[in-house]
Symmetry: D2
Subunit: 444 residues, 4 copies
Amino acid sequence: MPTRIEPAAAEPAVVGQQESLRQRLLDCRACTLALIEGLSDADVTVQSMDDASPSKWHLAHTSWFFEEFVLGPYAAGYRVIDPRYRFLFNSYYEAVGARQPRPRRGMLTRPAIGEIVDYRRHVDEALSALLAGPAPSGALGLVELGIQHEQQHQELLLTDLLHLFAQNPLRPAWRTAPDAESAARQQAWAGASPSPADATEAKWVGFEGGCFEVGDEGDGFAFDCERPRHRVVLVPYALADRLVTNRDWGEFIADGGYRAPHWWLADGWARVQAEGWHAPLYWERRDGAWVQMTLCGELALDPQAPVSHVSYFEADAFARWRGARLPTEHEWEVAARAQPIDGNLASSGRFRPRPAALDAQAPLRQLYGDVWEWTASPYCAYPGFRIAEGAVGEYNGKFMCGQFVLRGGSCATPQGHLRATYRNFFYPHQRWQFSGLRLARDCG
Amino acid sequence: MPTRIEPAAAEPAVVGQQESLRQRLLDCRACTLALIEGLSDADVTVQSMDDASPSKWHLAHTSWFFEEFVLGPYAAGYRVIDPRYRFLFNSYYEAVGARQPRPRRGMLTRPAIGEIVDYRRHVDEALSALLAGPAPSGALGLVELGIQHEQQHQELLLTDLLHLFAQNPLRPAWRTAPDAESAARQQAWAGASPSPADATEAKWVGFEGGCFEVGDEGDGFAFDCERPRHRVVLVPYALADRLVTNRDWGEFIADGGYRAPHWWLADGWARVQAEGWHAPLYWERRDGAWVQMTLCGELALDPQAPVSHVSYFEADAFARWRGARLPTEHEWEVAARAQPIDGNLASSGRFRPRPAALDAQAPLRQLYGDVWEWTASPYCAYPGFRIAEGAVGEYNGKFMCGQFVLRGGSCATPQGHLRATYRNFFYPHQRWQFSGLRLARDCG
Amino acid sequence: MPTRIEPAAAEPAVVGQQESLRQRLLDCRACTLALIEGLSDADVTVQSMDDASPSKWHLAHTSWFFEEFVLGPYAAGYRVIDPRYRFLFNSYYEAVGARQPRPRRGMLTRPAIGEIVDYRRHVDEALSALLAGPAPSGALGLVELGIQHEQQHQELLLTDLLHLFAQNPLRPAWRTAPDAESAARQQAWAGASPSPADATEAKWVGFEGGCFEVGDEGDGFAFDCERPRHRVVLVPYALADRLVTNRDWGEFIADGGYRAPHWWLADGWARVQAEGWHAPLYWERRDGAWVQMTLCGELALDPQAPVSHVSYFEADAFARWRGARLPTEHEWEVAARAQPIDGNLASSGRFRPRPAALDAQAPLRQLYGDVWEWTASPYCAYPGFRIAEGAVGEYNGKFMCGQFVLRGGSCATPQGHLRATYRNFFYPHQRWQFSGLRLARDCG
Amino acid sequence: MPTRIEPAAAEPAVVGQQESLRQRLLDCRACTLALIEGLSDADVTVQSMDDASPSKWHLAHTSWFFEEFVLGPYAAGYRVIDPRYRFLFNSYYEAVGARQPRPRRGMLTRPAIGEIVDYRRHVDEALSALLAGPAPSGALGLVELGIQHEQQHQELLLTDLLHLFAQNPLRPAWRTAPDAESAARQQAWAGASPSPADATEAKWVGFEGGCFEVGDEGDGFAFDCERPRHRVVLVPYALADRLVTNRDWGEFIADGGYRAPHWWLADGWARVQAEGWHAPLYWERRDGAWVQMTLCGELALDPQAPVSHVSYFEADAFARWRGARLPTEHEWEVAARAQPIDGNLASSGRFRPRPAALDAQAPLRQLYGDVWEWTASPYCAYPGFRIAEGAVGEYNGKFMCGQFVLRGGSCATPQGHLRATYRNFFYPHQRWQFSGLRLARDCG
């Protein structure tokens, strides 16, 4: 996850803008805290795998981020609550120093959640005071970065929590599914059996080739990895007008997709065999039908909803099996920027992907929200990219190796966090995010 | 950990004895619950390594043990609170069926600790009712086994908790050290530097050779692995009259003991190198002096206290370096049975090993309590040993491979749990128990 | 390593061309056999790591390739010597079937090297006969592919052999270093100490930006991954006129490059720590000076020769430390195509990188040969790339994930094998190839 | 494998004895060399797993042993051929210094086998000269130790070679099976199907209990671990009069023995699952019948021959399934010492276990030779055992942890190497030795 190169650059000294920033900050902070409503001290403390972090850690780390990068440098007289938190809640900033090893974040039963909530309040008060007066030069851009950073962790908190609950045979639910009736309808679906006509049949939408500018236009916040804006050449292509669905995926499974090496990248096939993959993460068979672990507990699988929790390896193999391919990140961006940033985001309160609407106005449905869309593009530096000075320079640049770009956000992404140029990235074997795919193909 | 072969054999049908059993049971159960006083929901849920279990799991597993082996078979109309607990809280009984994998016990943030406390109360009430009336045949021996089993888990709960807290840079304390003054005195000790004359200089106590009977005499409870009683031949030997101390161990370190392969078993040396051992577990240097993580948090190391948290490999290497050896389990047993079962057990409330008394009456000091004493004896079946029928047969027999016997109990062992024939056992690399050693040598 | 999509496409039916192909084939086959001159049966059989293969296996596998893809389909009446060879010598073609696991290729002490030489002769005779008569349709393109494939294995045979010999404390030499005198001169060099003025100081050569066509032009053999030719946008850039040298690298080491996380990608830093990297592979300190294992045994390190056997992670970190970056593969290709394909290749008989010439005519020295140059480009499909039908489709496409492109060939690459569009690829942690780097930077 | 504590102690200065020792030495050395007849340079160089060593390494190591412990200290003016051999061919003697890591012994394609044969001759000549004159004090006992040591390696060379050849799908044979006809007869046996009446039905032979002396009596060579002689108590027991056969084992398999956890030790069951054990090592199904890889290549399994290549875990599980147990090492020794040391040893030239004779005179058949018999006894120090001074002290003592004793020798053990007190030892999971079992049970 990325940082702004010169946070001070776009700094608006206007008082009204500063007050608006302060309000957005406090809203964002409150929003994070609301996510742990209903969770126990144990729920927020346990770490389910190396890739995931405890909710409590997310709460503390996002506070530490403001303390380290804003309050320490800019808030005169700021009192650090506990100097050891710098060790405990630094994520990966080598320049800041030694830290709790990532795989051992779940060992921290202390400080207790109450202490972390106090810590957050302490940081909030200091930030609020800082922004209430004449803001020190340089601080505002870093506050904005801290908000964006915290929004990223809001999403991670949810995907990490889902992973934790999925380890528990009791299948706990974080929130209640509001539409219990739909569950009934779906219970008969067993993966590849005939099913009612699919109202959301995918259509291809064509795009012209040519030379295009991609990357941040500079008219608002963007992470450093979205810059600099630069030109790329695209050849004519088409994108599916909706995401690949669970029903589509069931056909891949039924056709032996997980047992046929020729659809797979060599590294993907090795992973399929080593880990015994035979369906997306969180799918399980119960009494002959598919169920899926979700943030609302275990539910019957909705065949019309977008498939989620698939790796790049699976997405790539599926596309090849369908005679298609994944889009590049720039094909996606050029196609997306004409459409409004709207969709099934965290603000919908659903926290699960939903079937594509039938009455959509925009040519491409489900472009934002639902699931992050794997692209064929390795996560690389744009031409002319430079890593920022200091610790924030570690935000994005050092991860530009071995990962693939995802676009479009998911049902766990906060409203207001996305844009057409936004680049998310994960390793090709990772599956615990809300990650799915949209098909692409060459034209002409 | 061991089970009784024919639990029904010694069954006393007398009403008074049954009432006494009921009282001991309820005391034992209350004692377990008292151990988690002051711990948070998170503290009792997290698992710090594969070998350790969460406190909550210990609380639930010991209850499940009574449910599975006593209430299910003997308590007519017993209502199971949740059938899924059988999966969650079975430890290793293959005959009972599938279960939560051991390394994933810490994933169970649900059921919450409150539900587990309710579960315990439910089981306690059913057991109490069962024992209030005419006891069904066969149940009493299994209740006794359940008590002994729960006492073992009381000790494990503490050693597992210590391991968890030792992972935390905040060095949490479970209980407060009552003798803060002693900490001051010790702060100057740096391991091998000259120190005040040691009042507890070890002396050799000799024992005659001959043919001896060892193992359970049948006059009370014993685990199956302590039987049958049988004859062994011993040659004349001597035992040190006290345990090896931290001061002794500091000399071993200062002499390069952890860097000299010739003191070590081949497997031990491989472990030293692979894991970078250079001191007992929980020892750390702070400002040039040794400190030690304990159940009372991090304290200055007491040079006169027995060394603890050493592996068999370390104990064996130390003994060789000293020109001595570890005693066999039968040498220990024959020497110990003449002495009273008394010492620094959990009932002392200290929960740390303490220096040997200067005014001891018995020839061998610190025989019971303080630390489990590694012996040179692999954990094997006694001649004529038979594994019990059914699931309880898995209690001890299937672990008779690759482990070594420890004798004497520790500062975390409950009062009343020990006897001279008691055999504890761990793998030679394990260090998280209160494990230390007493030297032995050949005589004549 | 790559295959041609439609091998039959460019097929020239002219007899003269067919005879020339036959001659090139036999020359190539003889060349492979010459590589094992002086090696023992043991030398050609042992496998030194999973990534490497025994020389004998290379000899057999390249023969099997012709048998499987040319002789089987096209040579009527071809007699298979041993049907089990299909299992033993298939590399990774899932479509062909099960095979000897890659990490167990070194277990094959039988068939003996003599039998493999017979196998080669049998295949050569059949191929020669096939090409002597009227060639069956489709066969010629596959023969060409087989030659290119065998040339790739000639290079791998040497790098694998070097790795094997580097495991041996006796430091065996495959060939004798012709210039023993140079060894003497270098013996005093200790890495970072002052050294005689470097006659080969690097200079920057600038290139204009714009829209360029890259990829195979279709006028000769090319692998499928070099196609289709397509347009890319480049911004103005500069390339160093020579490769990074051992002397340069010594400065990086002396400046603590291997101990400073801020120069490194996160995955690279993890690798540095896990494997204790502190210098390129094959560098060792002897009596205060650097020596290097080579195909001519252990030699004093030549500070003016190009650094070799560094991973992508190291190359990337070095470039960042120097305030530069790696070139993209297309920057390299556009710059390279104006220069002749010439340099220190296998045909020079040196089999080690050599210092840059002082009197070079071309603007970029050491462009071909010496060491493969890591580029900043992940190995990906070009726009419009399609995987070929059948088993040969597995040649390149399934490896397009997680690897980086290298350009320019090495001192172990056969003459005639390279071109400006050639794409080699390895994982970013791999170091056993002749892999080095040339610096790049942005302009204007 | 073990060393004599005070090799000089029993030294007979008599000239005749010395000449006899010299002759035995040269015979033993020639015998080792004869083992590699028919093997290629590759065959003797490759290492098939960490536990095994290349034949060439065995040849060199046994020579180094004489060089290090006899020639260096006792042969004035002895010239070391290559000082680097000390590094290459030291096995595990920490006191001698650093050495080629065990898992990398197979990397040594140089020195070539010819050089090793020269090395052997050089050592033989020096030893012969040393023993021809007046022998220096202390040398004779070490020569005797070297002979015993080399005999142990003769057996290991064969078991390691068998393991190597078993990795090869071509199923190479070291020697030809002389009794091809027997193969035909056995081809129909499929494991658990009815078979002709077994003429070698096992019978129980009872032994009285009491107090017995065990261990070396001091009347010839013995390893240090066989000493000191000491008393043990045995209770009445019975031993089967023959080894467990392949037919017996087929019944265990057919009864689901490899799928039923209750027969297994916990560590054994974990191993069964982790490695997918379902039959002894080297058993495979071909066309519905069992075949077995042997030193004579792949042969039909002989149901009447003793089962071989089973681990302790398997032997123990089998015995439990049969309602029996493994004998202790002392039960075996007391029973064995009344019988002659005779059986199917290496000198028979069969190199495979053979069915028990029907006309045996001795009460216990197959006591020596055929397969090593797993005992229930962990490999421990005898009371009063002391490790010898110096490097030879590492021979046995440092392995006394985690291994089990095997008794009786195998079809690969040299004639003259065994005695009733002989203790072999391996880890409980190891299967590549000729290891089988004889059942025992309690009496009375």
